[in-house]
């Protein structure tokens, strides 16, 4: 174990796992409470189009994916608003478009030298210290927001309209949260992978609400769950020699289903 932590790439992966556990643990509650789970799927899959843009123009895929995801988050909202369709329909249209665009762009770039599977399913060898610093920066911004704006965000999650009328800047806070979600997804892209990262948006709060009926409890249990499956899954993936993202999501989903079954059996 100690020799494992001496490996530079693995230490980076452990650090980023801790940060992501906290970020997704808190975020998950707000996303699941607003029944916006599909938004996580939409934004993460959109990142594929962004990565492809980066490959095509020889830019850092992290930045192209980030910019692409931020734009997409805004466009998804606008399409839903002005096209008078539900948010889910808008996401459904947009994310398949972004993935298709990605596939077309990558084909345009002849003989690319790039670990595409790593981006799709996660590969901890790709994590650089740059990713750690970005994740740390995001954590700082997010903790600041949570520390000072938690109750306002809770209010708008519960009842958007009354929050607006009571003086909460709903539009601004919503946009900030959306941008942060996009950024967190892009940061976790390398480790968990574009296809699987949306599980981390949904699972923690779902698990938390099995154990607690209060928002504080749900968030704390969500973080504990994340530490278990993200950090634990990382070690497990090393010993089993399986892809880390896939190991995390598989074990997390199994834990969720087992807990759910145990709970419903105990209720009888």
């Amino acid at each position: 174990m100690i020799t494992l932590l001496n490996l530079n790439f693995f230490r980076n992966a452990v650090l980023i796992s801790f940060i992501l556990s906290i970020l997704f643990g808190i975020f998950s509650f707000f996303i699941v409470s607003r029944k916006m789970a599909f938004l996580g799927v939409g934004i993460s899959h959109t990142a594929f189009g962004g990565v492809a843009l980066g490959i095509l123009f020889n830019l850092n895929p992290f930045f192209t994916a980030l910019v692409f995801c931020l734009f997409s988050a805004i466009i998804i909202g606008k399409v839903s608003k002005y096209g008078k369709i539900s948010l889910n329909t808008s996401i459904g249209i947009y994310f398949s478009f972004a993935m298709a665009l990605g596939a077309v762009l990558i084909k345009l770039k002849q003989n690319y030298n790039f670990d595409l599977t790593g981006y799709l399913f996660g590969n901890i060898l790709g994590i650089r210290s740059f990713d750690i610093w970005t994740a740390l920066g995001l954590l700082m911004i997010f903790l600041f927001l949570i520390l000072f704006f938690f109750n306002r965000i809770l209010f708008l999650t519960f009842d958007e309209e009354v929050a607006t009328i009571s003086g909460v800047s709903v539009g601004l806070l919503d946009t900030i949260m959306l941008f942060l979600l996009a950024a967190i997804i892009v940061v976790s892209m390398k480790m968990v992978g574009i296809i699987l990262v949306s599980a981390l948006v949904v699972l923690p709060a779902s698990f938390g609400s099995l154990l607690s009926s209060n928002y504080r409890g749900i968030i704390w249990w969500g973080i504990v769950f994340n530490l278990f499956i993200i950090v634990g899954g990382l070690f497990l993936s090393y010993f089993l020699k399986t892809p880390p993202g896939a190991t995390m999501v598989t074990s997390g989903t199994l834990i969720y289903f087992i807990s759910m079954t145990v709970k419903s059996v105990m209720r009888r």
Partner: protein, 269 residues
């Protein structure tokens, strides 16, 4: 927002003048003239699709009018401290949100503070008083989703009161409540009017039982067909224009005999 110049002792909280609202060239509201004074309960009644919710959403500033003006008294610093208390329709919020009663009321208190501020003892007092007024203080640690429909409404009224409003706007508050809970709820509104001096606008499709508790009534179907005191018998042509011809109303008025206030349930047709 525009402010009214109130000079006389009777304070007008909000005045709506010649308000029109259109959705995609479809006229939803037209020629609306309405006012609400302090210490007054105004009920807006009308059929589904008559524009009741649209009217209060326009007053709340959630939708833009096509034409006309909405003016408030100086005491209503709109969307800031001491603003309007609002109770939305029950479908608008998550009935099973994982919070307790005190959390719900605290939320609107937090919204009144600066983002760097925590709640102080004065805020706690306001929250407790609000819960006391609506008779829910004993349930303050109870989980919100465990409450009955009537209790939830009371908690949300407390949340509205915690912004220290001069005016309350309630959208179909009696929907889904049984007769006893409805009656208790209307008595609570009377108490808020008489003890705190609030002006209250209440949207309702229940024209009958509401008339006992309110000061003025407005019948709305795109236009306002009647606006006045409920005792003065709503003219039958107004009821017909709003609700249609083949509807009978169980309705309280001066000729009622056996009710508490010497009222009977007078059937208009």
């Amino acid at each position: 927002m525009k402010h009214l110049n109130n000079t006389d002792s009777e304070k007008i909280l909000v005045r709506v003048e010649d308000l029109w609202v259109k959705f995609n060239d479809h006229v939803v509201l037209k020629e609306i003239n309405l006012k609400l004074k302090s210490k007054e309960i105004l009920s807006i009644v009308g059929p589904n699709g008559g524009g009741k919710t649209t009217l209060i959403r326009a007053i709340l500033g959630l939708i833009k009018p096509y034409r006309g003006k909405i003016e408030f008294d100086q005491c209503i610093n709109y969307r800031k401290k001491g603003c309007i208390g609002y109770l939305p329709q029950r479908t608008q919020y998550d009935q099973n949100f994982p919070v307790n009663v005190e959390d719900v009321v605290s939320m609107s208190r937090y919204a009144q503070k600066g983002w760097w501020e925590k709640l102080n003892s004065e805020d706690k007092n306001i929250i407790f008083q609000a819960l006391e007024v609506v008779d829910m203080i004993d349930y303050r640690s109870e989980h919100f989703s465990n409450l009955s429909g009537g209790q939830k409404q009371r908690v949300l009224i407390a949340r509205a009161l915690a912004v220290k409003p001069e005016m309350l706007i309630l959208d179909e508050p009696s929907t889904g409540l049984d007769m006893v809970a409805q009656d208790n709820f209307y008595h609570l509104l009377v108490k808020l009017r008489d003890q705190i001096g609030l002006g209250i606008i209440m949207v309702s499709h229940d024209i009958g039982s509401v008339s006992l508790f309110i000061d003025r009534i407005a019948c709305l179907k795109v236009k306002i067909h009647y606006h006045g005191k409920p005792e003065n018998c709503i003219p039958s042509h107004a009821l017909e224009e709003v609700f249609g011809k083949n509807v009978n109303f169980l309705y309280h008025d001066k000729e009622c005999e056996t009710c508490k206030k010497n009222h009977d349930h007078f059937i208009k047709s």
